[in-house]
């Protein structure tokens, strides 16, 4: 026998299910009498420093169908690469946003400030994807095509170099990007355990 290790196990995840909107973005779901507004409506407010960008995309299942019921959360640094709470962080950047796939088209839109590089990492936005059929929320990141990725600890660790592209948004216009997430199959997005 040995001494017992005094460590708890994490509570197991369960799927967020098809009605995650009720709990996390109830106003989006048409429930408007409980809270004044949904949390995470925007990751910044007026006066935030940096470039305003718009990222659109869809989340595709293994058959190529865009999910209509997914919810995504994003977390990012401000334009200088500082996270809220860190010294020097832009007080107009909360860094957190919630957005849902459109119930008809499956497309999502994230309007935000382009993040700066946190330390030696390349600029990125962390995403957490939940939906019916996803038993544990999936983590991934959006990177940008114009940045130097040479010292980024995530992108440099992807063995199959062609899969790096799954984490890099495509520039579609002035301050506009597209970032599609593929849960399975050809072009499957790299998901992270960090």
């Amino acid at each position: 026998m040995v001494q017992p290790l005094d460590i708890n196990r994490e509570t197991p995840s369960q799927t967020a299910g098809p009605y995650v909107h009720i709990g996390c973005i109830p106003t989006f779901a048409g429930i408007t009498t409980i809270y004044p507004e949904d949390l995470g409506l925007s990751p910044f407010s007026d006066g935030a420093k940096g470039d305003l960008i718009t990222i659109t995309g869809s989340i595709f299942d293994g058959t190529g169908w865009a999910l209509r019921d997914a919810m995504v959360e994003s977390w990012q640094a401000d334009a200088a690469g500082n996270y809220p709470g860190q010294p020097g962080a832009d007080p107009s950047v909360t860094g957190f946003c919630r957005f849902a796939a459109d119930k008809d088209s499956g497309e999502f839109t994230l309007k935000t400030i382009k993040p700066g590089p946190p330390g030696s990492q390349a600029p990125h936005i962390a995403l957490w994807v939940v939906a019916r059929g996803i038993n544990t929320g999936l983590s991934t990141r959006i990177y940008f095509p114009e940045d130097d990725h040479g010292s980024d600890p995530v992108l440099t660790r992807i063995e199959q170099r062609h899969r790096v592209d799954t984490l890099i948004a495509k520039k579609t216009g002035d301050a506009r990007y597209r970032f599609d997430i593929r849960l399975q199959g050809e072009g499957e997005t790299v998901f992270l355990d960090m």
Partner: protein
């Protein structure tokens, strides 16, 4: 001496399988490649902060919040309470908990829910609270009903309340479900079964807690939650900024 406090690696064996054929929607929505496991960076070590000032008077009272106290929801009145701690056994204070659920008849107030159990005009189905300094929380609600769902030919969800939790960092993010002691539908449910470790599944089943109930008013269920922990060490050679 200053101690480092980094997130411990996530024990993926504590969690459900992503691919679970009996839960049909998971078949096409589960990645086929392995997750890329890396040390957490500042991105995962930080996270959004929610203050107690966001909470309204009725936010943690699902019996009253949809009508802001004008009427009461229909159903078995229950209080759900518990404590949030991390894997190291430390209380997680100021954790935002959001809950959502079906009404007493098993119907969600959602455009996609077409079950013919009626909506309750006094029930919205969501609430939120923030843990206190000891990691404790509570909310009032009605016990949700079981309901059928399109999966195999005759699948029913056990009564459950969805829980969403924010710890102190984005890397601790968790969504789960609370089940109720004694529900025979738990062992038939393919979503519950995605957690193969029976001991882990048991941790989602809240016991009836008569000591926390109130005579002639409500029953109580106790649901404790553990979030991913942090290691504490004086030995740390990780470069700054990662």
């Amino acid at each position: 001496m200053a101690k480092s406090s980094r997130l411990m690696p996530r024990d993926q064996t504590a969690h459900p399988r992503a691919y679970w054929p009996d839960y049909k929607t998971s078949v096409a929505r589960s990645p086929r490649n392995a997750l890329l496991s890396l040390e957490p960076t500042v991105t995962e070590e930080t996270g959004p902060v929610f203050g107690h000032d966001i909470l309204g008077k009725y936010d943690n009272d699902l019996i009253q919040n949809f009508t802001q106290g004008a009427s009461l929801a229909i159903g078995e009145r229950i209080r759900v309470h518990g404590r949030v701690q991390d894997e190291n056994g430390r209380a997680v204070a100021n954790a935002l908990i959001e809950v959502w659920q079906a009404n007493a008849g098993g119907r969600y107030r959602h455009v996609k829910d077409g079950y013919f159990a009626p909506l309750d005009p006094g029930f919205g189905g969501c609430g939120r609270t923030i843990t206190d300094d000891d990691g404790c929380y509570e909310f009032m609600t009605v016990k949700p009903g079981a309901y059928p769902w399109p999966n195999r030919a005759n699948d029913w969800r056990p009564a459950h309340i969805h829980f969403s939790l924010f710890g102190a960092s984005f890397g601790q993010r968790l969504i789960s479900q609370m089940y109720f002691e004694g529900d025979p539908l738990i062992r038939l449910c393919p979503i519950a079964a995605t957690i193969e470790d029976q001991g882990q599944l048991d941790r989602l089943v809240a016991p009836l807690d008569m000591a926390a109930s109130r005579p002639m008013d409500y029953l109580a269920y106790k649901f404790d939650i553990v979030l991913r922990g942090r290691r504490q060490t004086m030995f740390e050679n990780k470069p700054e900024g990662l």
